[in-house]
């Protein structure tokens, strides 16, 4: 019996190690994509777009490993929360890696156009913040640090404010005819990609909190809904009729 549990915990450690590695690879790819965007490096863009296939493959393998452990070991309590969360985190990382690819594709679309230095400055800041968020959220996961994970949401608000500042700056640059409309649109989309990467980091941190404490963000909403429409048994989707 002990041997079986030992093997189970080894498997669990392996999937944890792999998710940390995936997180590190993703964190690393954010500044690379930004460099590609700001320097118009088409070769670098191509490299990062292709590297996403490997990332997808590793994510799929990781999920398969989790399913196998679930099927063979029937984990409970923290172990079960951990495995379910890892499956969800894999999805968040995979989606974030897609957003990094999207930044590279945007770099291709605006190739040859100059970007206003003011915009370049804000892009660099957004990239740095997105990278910090993922580094911190993966550290919280690795250390099972619920307090650190809870701080990620507040860290993300800075990225959100940079996003708003960037959009404002795009309007200003465009009105001063410093950038073409097509470039302005692409850059606005790029800013959204960074902002979304930040949101995915927040989602990962929430999964860490769930692993450690069982906390779920949606709990508050569920309570409010229950208070509004009654209990959750069969009444969830049917609001009470006013008599």
């Amino acid at each position: 019996m002990d041997e079986i549990r030992k093997s189970f915990h080894n498997d669990l450690d392996s999937v944890r190690a792999e998710i940390i590695r995936l997180g590190a690879s993703l964190t690393e790819s954010i500044p690379r994509a930004t460099a590609v965007l700001l320097s118009g490096d088409l070769e670098g863009a191509d490299y990062l777009v292709q590297a996403d296939d490997e990332f997808d493959g590793r994510s799929a393998e990781l999920e398969a490993s989790c399913f196998e452990i679930l099927a063979l070991q029937s984990p409970v309590a923290t172990d079960l929360r951990q495995l379910i969360s890892i499956i969800k985190i894999t999805g968040e990382l995979e989606r974030s890696a897609d957003l990094v690819v999207n930044i590279c594709k945007a770099a291709r679309r605006i190739y040859g156009h100059d970007v206003d230095p003011m915009l370049r400055g804000v892009i660099s800041k957004m990239s740095e913040q997105a990278q910090n968020l993922f580094a911190a959220t993966m550290e919280a996961f690795e250390q099972n640090d619920s307090a650190k994970a809870a701080a990620i949401d507040d860290m993300d608000s800075y990225l959100d404010s940079l996003h708003r500042q960037f959009i404002q700056q795009i309007f200003e640059s465009h009105s001063k005819t410093k950038i073409d409309l097509q470039v302005a649109v692409q850059l606005a989309v790029v800013a959204r990609f960074y902002e979304r990467i930040g949101d995915h980091a927040v989602n990962v941190s929430e999964k860490t909190r769930f692993i450690v404490t069982g906390w779920v963000r949606e709990r508050g909403g569920i309570e409010r809904y229950k208070a509004r429409v009654g209990d959750m048994t069969g009444e969830l989707l049917r609001p009470k009729q006013e008599s």
């Binding site: 190690a17 940390i20 590695r21 997180g23 590190a24 690879s25 964190t27 690393e28 954010i30 500044p31 690379r32 460099a35 700001l38 206003d116 230095p117 003011m118 915009l119 370049r120 400055g121 804000v122 660099s124 990278q131 580094a135 993966m138 550290e139 690795e142």
Partner: protein
């Protein structure tokens, strides 16, 4: 240096051989409970010492048993690998190298990590007897930086000199046989321009080497505040032409010991750059202050700014942030390199704070000479465009 590498290589080989024996013994079946004899204890002590020696190495060493996946690491390897961010990537690269060794008996790669500061790790692997592999991890960040600077310098120098030489040759060729006076005049003028450019590069290179080898003899004690007034006055015209304001604020009587003309040309260079890379309507400010025993002069602009990546290399010879723009403005690519050398020659330091789209501040710190005393706090010379 080579001797050091040889010695460290030999030591590594010796220690690794001993460790493999130790490792092999550790992995023997645990039911071997015979008491160790005196020789074995002595060997154990030797191994202990060798393990300490291996821990002294800056290079990370990982010895992996291929069949079981177990591995032994020295201190450097432990500090470079793990679960924290960059360490995870190194750890992953080591695992990949072990797989590579399993397949091809040896392997080598350079891992580059770009988050935060860019770092380079050289990872080498080799198969060993008894189904084992040895992987070494070397942090080659500094080595790579020096190699890049050296190779870029050679490439840039040849490019910078070849461009005007090629232009002069082509223009002279066109001039040959040209009879129309206006064309001859235009071509000749361009030959003169290109020759001046070449001459500026050679002059700058000579200046740089003179400063580097400490060839400046014209040292005296003088008031740096006066130099700053001269620099600002001589640059007012070009600032005005570009629609910029140029202001000088700060303390008067800042006595330094050094080469007056060198410091004058250094601050001129900084102010000139600030003007070149600012947009019309902006402001360039030169601020001086005496902080404890140091004179601090900041040249601040609200121009296009410098990206973080370029900031790290901006003081290198011939390094240009915007190649097209800096050539168009007549720069040789040596200005900031000369500035840095002059500051160092005077026992000071220079740092840069910059943000793209916001502006840049170059801050020069120089040791004060004995005479310095602040008589007046603010002296402002300002001409708005």
């Amino acid at each position: 240096m080579n001797l050091f590498y040889f010695a460290s290589g030999a030591l590594t080989a010796l220690v690794v051989a001993a460790l493999i024996k130790k490792f092999a013994r550790k992995t023997k079946s645990s039911d071997d409970t015979r008491a160790p004899d005196v020789g074995a204890v002595e060997k154990e002590n030797q191994l202990e010492s060798l393990m300490h020696a291996l821990d002294m190495l800056a290079i990370g060493v990982v010895i992996a048993e291929l069949a079981t996946g177990r591995n032994l690491r020295n201190k450097a390897a432990n500090s470079m690998t793990g679960v924290r961010y960059v360490d995870v990537l190194v750890e992953q690269a080591v695992d990949e190298m072990i797989k590579e060794v399993k397949k091809n008996h040896s392997g080598e790669r350079v891992l580059e990590t770009v988050s935060g500061t860019t770092r380079f790790f050289k990872i080498q692997g080799r198969a060993m007897s008894g189904q084992r592999a040895i992987v070494t991890i070397e942090d080659i960040t500094e080595k790579s930086r020096i190699e890049t600077v050296q190779s870029d310098f050679v490439a840039n120098l040849s490019h910078e000199l070849k461009t005007p030489i090629g232009a002069v040759a082509a223009l002279a060729d066109s001039l040959n046989g040209e009879t129309e006076t206006e064309v001859v005049w235009r071509l000749a003028e361009r030959i003169v321009t290109e020759s001046h450019r070449m001459s500026r590069i050679v002059d700058d290179l000579l200046d740089l080497s003179r400063i580097e080898f400490g060839g400046t003899e014209e040292w005296s004690e003088f008031d740096l505040a006066q130099v700053l007034v001269e620099v600002v006055s001589s640059n007012q015209h070009s600032a005005k032409r570009q629609g910029l304001g140029l202001a000088l604020t700060g303390s008067v009587e800042l006595w330094v010991r050094g080469d007056r003309s060198q410091l004058n040309s250094m601050f001129s260079n900084l102010v000139d750059n600030a003007i070149k890379y600012s947009e019309s309507g902006g402001m360039v400010t030169v601020e001086s202050a005496l902080i404890k025993d140091e004179i601090v002069v900041s040249v601040k602009d609200h121009g296009i700014g410098i990206s973080e990546r370029d900031q790290k290399r901006i003081f290198e010879r011939f390094y240009r942030v915007d190649k097209a723009r800096s050539r168009a403005t007549g720069g040789t690519g040596l200005g900031l390199s000369i500035v840095r050398h002059i500051v160092l020659e005077h026992g000071g330091s220079i740092d840069l704070k910059s943000e793209e789209g916001v502006g840049s501040t170059f801050r020069v710190t120089l040791p004060k000479a004995a005479k310095t005393e602040v008589k007046q706090v603010l002296d402002e010379t300002e001409v708005m465009a």
